[in-house]
Symmetry: C2
């Protein structure tokens, strides 16, 4: 083990340079104009995986962006198999003007590496790749069979992954799925996440008059689609922060008092949270603590809104239409399809006769919970302790990795969420970064995980 | 008079070609990237005015776009002086994809001329220019002294016009101000508008967290600026369509029952209005008729809203901010500054502690009423009757021409609103047009006006 960790320590500079190369590729999956760049990123990854020692590497085509797959099964039929999942695609970079350094020119400042994808998820998946390489370089082999599945559509909803997994169950067969796409509870406190929220999406368009109208010639007599949309949005939550879509909470599992007590023992400061995001007051369901609102309660947000004239200057119109992107975070046992349907029906029911509305449900993901006494989670505890010299804590996470649910259902393999990010990594926002100690420690944790998991 | 009208009839083709040339110039005043094109339009106009016979033409510089001025004072000191006002700038063309023909390539379809600015206001001001030219060509002179003031910032708020008028009162001295920037009550019914609504603008920005937050990691605990803005917007009007800004109606003059009765005599079909804009239900104050809501009652509209991710695909964020452009239409004797201030104060008072807000008041314009027995309006009645063979009706208008108030205050000259547009001209919207019979008739009306006004 010492040899393995030394190898990793002696190659930090090289690992950082390689990660930068990976980050320079603009693999924005949700924006069609980056399609070719996403493919280039997949090719880069395939070539890199071949170089470091995988015996088989392959690009799987999908209806969307390609999937990169690699395997090394040299440990034999009797050995355990770990499937490591991650994604090489990244979020869009808007608003670009708020970045301090260009999003695709990785820059180290104060031992932190800034670029789109550093934390979500290129940096985290690359730590695993380098952890595997360390085994190859040190021992000429891996302690377990390893399969790598790195998709290119996570930030666009993993629309083709479920089908891919369903069609390739034999290839992907494994004992556990190791994923690093979550973050630590806080700086300096390695964490294992045992539950994730699910997600539902709905886009709504409110259509009023058949064209933009002059607000002087019509104002006062014609319903304004922006007013209508605004009113509909205010009908999604009540004054106590509760979501008022009929049936929304029907399937929410009550969390035990014991678990809620555990959350209370974690260090938490409302003031620090407020300070870090610069708001004077938090919000949400008044009957739950802030951590509970994020971890064990479902939520609803408007991710974007657009309507009328939004350019410079003024344009005195009653706009023809207005639209909003709405997403909901779900908890066990809420079902995304069911929730999407409930919201869609509700929106239609509250729209006034003066407008037409179009409701577009998008992809969703189930909420996930993994037992904390599974072998994978035990190995992760040892790996993080060895890599960061600190016992990890168990936590939940408000975000979603829909694929974790797919793995557990289709492959029967429990997901292990060994995140390497930090809460201030600015994922999905300008100035995304990863702390270099987390990246380098992550390489160690990945390497140790494979060793520890082989023994359990 | 016959000779004059014949000249106009014999030159329609030429007049149309010249108007097309004028319309091709992209004089969008509100968008800074068109600054040079706006100037080129002013130069084109100056040269054209020199050519047709004005003895003096001049470009006046402002802090914004230039003003074009021309005069012919050959009628002498004892003759009356008419100041004709119009604007050569146009509205932005968004959403460009909804235009059937390119906005700056004037196209005749079914005897209608399509292009940005055809009705508002290039086509209307150009009718006056051709009416004047007809006098020069037919009689070698004009029946009255004529001053032409054509500004380039009407669609951006006429920000520098008041100052220009204040500084050039002697140059602009006149007996009446003739303006064609309004529309007929309906197709085939020439109309004189004797009252306009005023306008107030406020832009509001709601600022939540200091960056876009991941909606999974924060959703449920942090106020979403889009939700906050939506809620604030719903607090601007009550269920009966009444605006609930404190003090908003304080200065509204009650309209006489006689005048309201006159409105009832005008042909009006709610069904036709609904059909023309394709809505199933109209909206607004339930205690007033639809015409009254637009003509004699103030209104409030959101002209644009923006927040969060509005590109293709999904971005699961709690956005850092959201903003809206709000405008209000005002009636006598509401004061734009006062109303803007009342709205600004109200918005600040209803914002929750979880966000910061920035309120930016923009320019405004006073509502205007002109007595229908003034000489200018009498001449306009005769001019429209001669040009279109039909007695005109008197109407109000829901839109604003802030400058009418300036003229009446600073020059002591009553404005005469002899509009040539039609309600379906799509002004401020895609596919703006002018009916060619209105354009050609407008040339006659302008020519006759000058003759008739000289006699009164």
């Amino acid at each position: 083990m010492k040899e393995l960790l030394s190898f990793i320590e002696n190659n930090q500079e090289k690992h950082l340079e390689q990660l930068k190369e990976f980050l320079k590729l603009k693999s924005i999956s949700a924006e069609p104009e980056y399609k070719e760049e996403v493919r280039r990123t997949a090719m880069w990854l395939k070539i890199h995986l071949s170089k470091i020692g995988f015996e088989k590497t392959q690009i799987f085509e999908t209806k969307g962006h390609p999937i990169v797959y690699a395997e090394w099964l040299g440990a034999g039929n009797n050995a355990k198999t770990v499937l490591i999942y991650g994604h090489y695609d990244v979020q869009p970079v808007d608003p670009i003007e708020e970045w301090n350094t260009p999003p695709f020119e990785p820059t180290v400042i104060d031992n932190k590496l800034y670029a789109r994808g550093t934390a979500d998820d290129k940096g985290q998946i690359f730590a695993h790749i380098k952890g595997i390489e360390a085994h190859f370089q040190t021992y000429g082999k891996l302690p377990v069979n390893v399969k790598l599945l790195i998709e290119g559509e996570e930030e666009a909803g993993s629309g083709n992954l479920d089908e891919f997994i369903a069609n390739n169950k034999d290839i992907l067969k494994c004992d556990t799925v190791l994923i690093s796409d979550t973050e630590w509870y806080t700086f300096g406190l390695p964490s294992i996440c045992y539950a994730l929220r699910g997600i539902s999406f709905v886009e709504i368009k409110v259509i009023g008059p058949n064209r933009d109208l002059h607000s002087g010639s019509y104002g006062g007599a014609v319903d304004n689609p922006i007013f209508v949309l605004a009113k509909m949005l205010t009908k999604l939550k009540d004054e106590r922060g509760k979501i008022i879509i009929p049936g929304f909470y029907d399937d929410v599992v009550k969390v035990s008092e014991e678990e809620r007590k555990h959350f209370k023992n974690l260090p938490f400061s409302e003031d620090e949270l407020k300070k870090s995001i610069e708001v004077e007051e938090l919000s949400g369901e008044i009957d739950f603590s802030v951590l509970e609102r994020i971890w064990i309660r479902p939520s609803i947000d408007v991710n974007g809104i657009k309507g009328g004239y939004i350019g410079e200057g003024m344009k005195t119109i009653i706009p023809s239409e207005a639209s909003a992107k709405i997403s909901m975070r779900l908890v066990p046992n809420q079902n995304p399809q069911d929730i999407t349907e409930k919201l869609s029906k509700y929106l239609i029911s509250i729209a006034p006769k003066s407008v037409k509305i179009i409701v577009n449900p998008a992809h969703g993901g189930n909420p996930v919970i993994t037992p904390i006494d599974s072998p994978g989670i035990k190995a992760a505890v040892k790996a993080l302790e060895a890599a960061f010299n600190k016992k990890p804590v168990f936590m939940r996470e408000g975000g979603s990795i829909p694929v974790t649910d797919t793995f557990s259902k289709m492959l029967g393999a429990p997901p292990v969420l060994m995140g390497l990010g930090l809460p201030d990594d600015n994922i999905h926002a300008p100035n995304e970064k990863i702390n270099l100690e987390n990246f380098f420690g992550g390489i160690k944790a990945s390497a140790v995980f494979l060793s520890e998991y082989s023994k359990l």
